[in-house]
Symmetry: C2
Subunit: 338 residues, 2 copies
Amino acid sequence: MGTLVLPRPYLLFLGDATECGFAKTALGLADWAPNLCLGEYGLPGCTVTAGLPPLTPAEARSKGARALVIGVANVGGVIPDQWMDALVEALDAGFDLVSGMHAKLASFPRLADAAAKAGRQLIDVRTPPSGIPIATGRKRSGKRLLTVGTDCALGKKYTALAIADGFKARGVNADFRASGQTGIMIAGSGMPMDSVVSDFLAGAAEILSPDAPQEHWDVIEGQGSLFHPAYATVSLGLLHGSQPDVFIVCHEVGRTGILGVSGYSLPSIPQVIEQTVVMGRLTNPAIRCAGISLNTSSLDAVGAAAEIDRLSTELGYPVADPIRRGAAFERLLDACLA
Amino acid sequence: MGTLVLPRPYLLFLGDATECGFAKTALGLADWAPNLCLGEYGLPGCTVTAGLPPLTPAEARSKGARALVIGVANVGGVIPDQWMDALVEALDAGFDLVSGMHAKLASFPRLADAAAKAGRQLIDVRTPPSGIPIATGRKRSGKRLLTVGTDCALGKKYTALAIADGFKARGVNADFRASGQTGIMIAGSGMPMDSVVSDFLAGAAEILSPDAPQEHWDVIEGQGSLFHPAYATVSLGLLHGSQPDVFIVCHEVGRTGILGVSGYSLPSIPQVIEQTVVMGRLTNPAIRCAGISLNTSSLDAVGAAAEIDRLSTELGYPVADPIRRGAAFERLLDACLA
């Protein structure tokens, strides 16, 4: 029993996308796993690029690519008819298919047939592995960091990736642990937490960061927020099962309301720190907050630096934007490892 | 889109059980839904009884029974070969089958074939309905009470059933809302919370207690404990989605450690009250604790009364054992409705 593990390297499929917004998965992969992405493959009419060499499935296969990743989404989250020929071509060329869409690959008879004939895998990264155990609550060896948030979709994945990179740059033995579909494609393995049956949620988080050497760090991608009326359960299962030694609170400048629900204000950062400590000490009594990851994408460089300084003084914690990095980010890494 | 709804009345199937412990579901149904259980049906060798008239499927059908409920479990939680003839006989006689076991009824080809031929349903109450929405966090009309616990398996279902009964006896418009398999069979409908995919958990709790008239009470069966390292997520989803006005903390005299995990002490009752208020006020800022339901089954009547008095004085809340009822239970009902 383990987490999902994906065949790599990848050829990124861009479909017939004409807007970057729909190619988020491909762009994230090209950004964070460039050495694992050998090329990109778009249909006629596709105007989006991830900046990788254009390759046909046959060309990419001959260079060693093993999986075609569907790197685009459309409004319905389904697989349109006009992609089918290309996907079957990839299976015939010897690729496994990897998808993070809601629609399951095997639910398309043409793909199921082609995969069976070619002896290839159809891998939906939103489908959890079978046999996930009930959590035991047993303390595991090694060190763990979890990113938590004041809300969804404000930088928990990006922060965990940047922290893991920063640790490695300092020679610290570290792994990024993915808990959502794009993170799983970047890491090549992980656990789609939001798709796990509730009874097994904390157990799924436990197997995501298994026992490790004492000085090893697992840097775990957080999900949702303890203050989100729909997704707090996923956040709590990840917190309990990850038993983090250290957490970082992710926040976006200017965000005042919870995304996707009306009438819910954002919690303050101190509220998030307090609740994360209170709930997290159930499985790790030594849990502590190391600092704040601030998404300052709405500010210019001068404004961002000023806001980072202001918030750090106000809260008494290191604050940094992991995209801007610099000295503030190094101080955040110091606090994590302290 | 709604919760599971079961065909009733029932014929209770006792299989070849020889120990009451394995007939918990049947005994709970006979206790709490006697008017919905027309009879019981045991195989040769069965020595357990739920105290109902023994009936064959044909006899029960002629009296109006609509579903055969598998009221027994065995060690593996599976359906043994020696039950098959009887279950097929029931399908042929016109019954739907209802099961709360882990093994799915439709995974047994003989049952699937017989159900298809007879045009009957195979209902696994641990399978959630499809199409559960993401939670909205919107405040619903009507009043809600949730039972929470210091741990699993110490009386949350029983307490909710007793409170709903007590409300009805006082002329209060109330419904018991079931969140686990036995509760669902008793109520005839409900939501198997522990089997819902995490992303939809709070949404499932929202549809379990829909908008209702302003003076109506939904009395909701709790699950797990916010302090259980494996099941806290189910407890939190139920708390957020139920948005209770009132909660009751269920506890068992003498329980000191969390069930099924080693190294976890039971939280104190004040800790459970505090955490339930802190987390619950996200979706209902007016949430309050009405009192304590104390499982005193390990004490005699005198010892139980003394412990109920002692705890009530110590905590400053009404305390009652819903099995012993009496004046203490009436005070607990008063506090709920205050």
